[in-house]
């Protein structure tokens, strides 16, 4: 039995070869993995928001896109990874109240209709700023996802709520 570590909202965890990292039911949230392919070490963050509402807050947590990227890099570096060898994968950022089910009022904004996209963009930007290559993503759409990362292979399993399973 491989040890599966569960990453909850706003949390982040590091895993080695013999372990797996898992995040359940990502809706508009983002599951971000940064890993070192040769050392077979990876870290996952479950990101809730692009950035703090109050820009004075300089929180060092996985709750926000920018700080999550920084936190993961620090953890991996402390675990002996060379930042220039790091790669990233991400999943999530869906729209949970899609137009197909909620065609009505034009004026009323669908709840969280753009937050998934904003989260996705914020993570992409934060990765680019730290020069981490995003090698795969499974984002957007109108379905929740559960993800599992295997540090040994670098594979990210994406279980979509429709039952479809993707490996990215």
């Amino acid at each position: 039995m491989k040890k599966v570590l569960r990453v909850r909202i706003s949390e982040h965890l590091l895993a080695r070869e013999s372990e797996r990292l898992k995040s359940y039911g990502l809706g508009s949230c983002i599951g971000l993995v940064i890993y070192e392919p040769h050392k077979k070490i990876g870290a996952m963050a479950h990101i809730l928001l692009p950035r703090p509402g109050n820009s004075h807050v300089r929180e060092k947590s996985a709750k926000y896109a920018a700080s999550a990227v920084a936190v993961l890099i620090t953890e991996l570096r402390e675990a002996g990874c060379d930042p220039s060898h790091l790669r990233a994968k991400m999943a999530g950022g869906a729209n949970m109240f899609p137009r197909k089910f909620n065609p009505a009022p034009e004026r009323a904004e669908r709840p969280g209709s753009s937050i998934g996209e904003r989260n996705t963009r914020a993570v992409r930007r934060a990765l680019a700023r730290k020069k981490i290559r995003l090698v795969a993503e499974e984002v957007g759409g109108e379905q929740g996802r559960t993800i599992e990362f295997n540090p040994r292979t670098g594979e990210l399993l994406v279980y979509k709520s429709s039952g479809e399973i993707k490996v990215v």
Binding site: I9, M96, F101, P111, G144
Partner: protein
């Protein structure tokens, strides 16, 4: 921002529970009238938890459910989410429309039907809050989702997470007496700024 930082004490929890208890009484009566069935509900539970723990409270991490989400606003504001398991959705449709099919279908008719159930439950629940708290509340249109409960709740947690890392969740399960498989879950998550006002309105201010 006047966010309630301290933990709720027992008296405050009891007051919120009682508020929900009365609200659920009215809400389930309205649903009972619509369905022509007797509806029971469990004593509501009030928990104050980190946002990261809410998905575990809502459960259903493996199977898709229907979620109907409404926001309410006024002097206090917050979120109401109703969750119906697939089996309950089918039974609900059978009772309300006579459609005996065992296949889930979310066309406009069926989603509207479920949204209307959400509207009725929420409307009668909020009217109790209005009376007890002596304030006027406005409810949004109902929004429909079919997915993992923890994914459906994401946009609500994102909304709450802007201002706080903790939230109060008031939950109550309701079910049809003659058909216990027909059940639903009611969740109320007040906006962080509203909790203080809600407690004050029930005479439990800090």
């Amino acid at each position: 921002m006047p966010v309630l930082a301290e933990k709720l004490n027992h008296a405050q929890e009891d007051a919120l529970q009682e508020l929900c208890n009365i609200g659920m009484g009215h809400a389930t009566t309205a649903l009972a009238q619509l369905m022509g069935k007797t509806i029971y509900f469990e004593i509501p539970r009030v928990s104050q938890v980190p946002i990261s723990r809410v998905p575990e409270i809502v459960g259903n991490a493996e199977k898709n459910v229907v979620g109907i989400y409404l926001r309410f606003s006024g002097p206090i504001s917050g979120n109401i989410l109703l969750i119906f398991p697939q089996k309950s959705v089918l039974l609900l449709r059978r009772i309300l429309t006579g459609d005996k099919s065992s296949k889930l279908l979310f066309d406009e008719y069926n989603t509207s039907l479920l949204k209307e159930v959400g509207n009725i439950l929420t409307g009668s629940y909020l009217s109790v809050m209005e009376n007890l708290l002596k304030m006027q509340l406005v409810q949004s249109v109902p929004w429909f989702a079919f997915d993992l409960a923890s994914a459906i709740i994401d946009p609500i947690l994102i909304q709450l997470g802007k201002d706080t890392d903790h939230t109060v969740v008031i939950e109550a399960e309701f079910f049809v007496r003659e058909r216990k498989q027909l059940k639903g879950q009611f969740y109320l998550m007040p906006d962080p700024q509203s909790l203080k006002l809600m407690l004050e309105a029930v005479g439990m201010g800090v």
